[in-house]
Symmetry: C2
Subunit: 399 residues, 2 copies
Amino acid sequence: MQRVDGGVTAPKGFRAAGVRCGIKQAGPDLMLLASDVPATAAGVFTTNAVKAAPVLLSRERIDGGTAQVVIANSGNANACTGAQGMADADRMTELVASALRLNKDEVLVASTGIIGQHLPMEKIETGIAVAVAALSFDGGDAAARAIMTTDTRPKSIAVEFETGGKSVRIGGMCKGVGMLAPNMATMLAFITTDAKITPRALRKCLARSAEISFNCVTVDGDMSTNDSAFILANGMAENPVIDGEGPDTDEFQAALDTVTVHLAREIARDGEGATKLVEICVNGAATADDARSVAITIANSPLVKTAIFGRDPNWGRVLAAAGRAGAQMDPDKTDLYFGDVRVFEQGEPTRVDAEEARRPMLADELVITVELNIGEASAKVWTCDFSYDYVKINAEYHT
Amino acid sequence: MQRVDGGVTAPKGFRAAGVRCGIKQAGPDLMLLASDVPATAAGVFTTNAVKAAPVLLSRERIDGGTAQVVIANSGNANACTGAQGMADADRMTELVASALRLNKDEVLVASTGIIGQHLPMEKIETGIAVAVAALSFDGGDAAARAIMTTDTRPKSIAVEFETGGKSVRIGGMCKGVGMLAPNMATMLAFITTDAKITPRALRKCLARSAEISFNCVTVDGDMSTNDSAFILANGMAENPVIDGEGPDTDEFQAALDTVTVHLAREIARDGEGATKLVEICVNGAATADDARSVAITIANSPLVKTAIFGRDPNWGRVLAAAGRAGAQMDPDKTDLYFGDVRVFEQGEPTRVDAEEARRPMLADELVITVELNIGEASAKVWTCDFSYDYVKINAEYHT
């Protein structure tokens, strides 16, 4: 497997565009992604009880197992917008379908941005016409930029691997920096591949991949009304069809995991106001749920996150967060590491000095490891620190 | 029932002192509270799996149902300190018992402050001698000041009521402004009363009262290793003994609730960096757990809290937080209010304009009400907003 350029337009037969239609105050805010031929499709969605209109619509459509186009806007989430919101989401897909001479059932839709306001449909209608004209086999980067909200940079990746004597590519892009929590953060992820794969296998691979990537990112514990990840597989690589279990499925899964884990880590690294990517590893837990719960609770602790921002090896806050996770834990068996520095061992602080403990906190990435020493289960989640800028961004991002 | 002065020394027979022994960089940091006679005692403690040494010790001692003295220090939590920490906590009670000619089993201990460092026992030994000499029937205010960490002001209250022809008083003080979460935040609360009451009734009244007060405060979702609330009832009011159910128990409960709810609200109002006290009311939930879960999830949402700091009526974030609480909820049945302004009604935004929605956010206290309109259960929790100063306080509060 190797990295290649092009993002979502790296796989054969995908064109994309990112244009400005005027929803955001500045910058591109409308993204169109299209396969030249009908594609197998799968998706995962927010589990929030409050789901935005585009989530409700796309979730229903993707059940059919095929899709050819994705339209997405940034700047307005079309969430909590009632019947008008559902009509607007449907209308977006209709406009795209009509311009591309497709059935609207082949069009998926996603939105991100402010909650509770109706979409400016006139701007979107004009924007869709511009986006259709701008569709390009080099459009991956422009597309990744058009889905950004408070993201500071576009996030995309593409990989290539061999299967059944054919070269197959997977490309992905995402946005999402705040209101991020496990089980799909305010995150939109769009993945393309020219692999030939059955809907059932695609669905299974995406679900597995989301579990160890998107569902392991948390910025502030909030979970969005709009989170969606789509994958479109158009089969143009002409590989022997991937289905069920076997080495080709494993290869595809590994490549997909590379794409989604990269995107997940980039989301955490670009968390609102973040100065650091933080990886929380929990090992030796009694159950997988326990491991995950401890990791997530540490990752969401504002006290831990502000200490990391202050480059303060305040391991007591990490232990206190672990202790309230509701997991089986015995402090007298627990070890705790910042980077490779052991700061707590089996119920007692180690004799490491503050300067040595602070050293791992100066780098761009920090790994915190908790060894519970009770069982065999592990979990890994990604987050970021909590800075003045997080407050600034979120206090000033006005309705 | 009426408010009276004096805090924890308002009830008959209680003396207190707050002195400086040098644990904190400045200010008083050692508190002593003593009843003239043995008292009935009860306590509630953190449910964090990582419990500080004083919690482990006091929890065991209070099981006996009596206590006469409380010693507490601020500046060092004596948490995650292993065997030495247990010995130090025990030694604190021994020093107090020896000076006051009591059995150490009659002494409770509490600590708050930095985690993972051993107590400076020489300073504490000297401080205890000073505190014993300073014990006074007017010491309530000095005591409330000596338990402060990042609190900006002392928190205390006392009330008086009649029962069985006797005048009875309850006094209380607390500290706690960060690392606060339901089920006992980093909170120390010490309550005194001259009521005559059985251990069983006292325990029951405290548990009920904590449930609707201390356990309903959340500042940042973190739960401390040290949270403790003690109540000492010395019987000097000579009322007919309170036991079981009846009007006198109800009167005592009502007075105790007044004390604990006042303290809980003061904790939220003084949350680290807070500019506002926020009350989250959830009504019409299917179950009490659902109501509480929705209220707590909203109260802990960094996105909601930063919006409140920015005085932004961003009700979409409130709905999104409610939606991820895991409770039964249907947006199409839900109403949402900021103060008395309805901003969302049965699945649709209302036509209220932004200025009108912003008005309730300008006051010192904000009430956010969610009407789920599914069942009959309600919950109320208190929190505060999330400001630059929260980050500053917690990034700079170095180990």
